[in-house]
Amino acid sequence: MAATVTAFDPSADLIYLVAELSGPLGAQKYRFVLDTACAETLITPESVDKLGYSARHGDSITAVTTALDREPGYRLRVSRFEALGYAVTDFRVHVHDLPEESGIDGLIGLNFLRAFNYEIRSKEGRILVSRA
């Protein structure tokens, strides 16, 4: 099966990608970081609020422990999540705040990536993805 190819800036400190989320009110694209050290995909509260979700749509309370603190959040299923040329439906995300100055709205974690085979070509700035 042919792989999709997504380009990224190989000179950047992280792998920044555009992903699209859909909800009851529509769809919006946000900047994410590809993070293979993140078990579950994370997104900011402002991003899901815009799509018509809120904490009351969540199915459990969660917390992320950082170097500085333990921050509360919640787990939510969004109707559609698209990244790296593939879309998944009824997709579970963790809703947690991220610093405004980071300039990103989420982290693409392994709960998305494990549905695929992927190859990160860091020097070339390309990610090859195919269905597992």
């Binding site: 997504t6 400190d13 990608l17 555009v18 529509g26 919006q28 694209k29 991003s47 170097a67 300039g103």
Partner: protein, 71 residues
């Protein structure tokens, strides 16, 4: 406006963009219409108003950095 034009007009801000044109190969933003801009994620969203079924984008025009930086 192109991404370069948006970055120049709204430096270090969150912008909500409509009428999107994306690059089909890289999935990166090419051009669109700025519907709101501000220093927080919520400011441009309030200016842009409800989605009403359309697809928009919200991006930061400044330098992006890891959210997990150590102090």
């Amino acid at each position: 406006m192109t991404w370069a034009e948006i970055k120049a007009a709204y430096p270090d801000q969150w912008v909500v963009i409509g009428d999107l044109e994306m690059d089909p190969e890289t999935s990166e933003f090419r051009s669109g219409v700025v519907l709101g801009a501000g220093k927080t994620r919520r400011e441009p969203e309030e200016q842009a108003g409800p989605l009403n079924g359309e697809t928009r984008a919200r991006f930061w025009t400044g330098q992006m950095r890891s959210p997990w930086r150590l102090p």
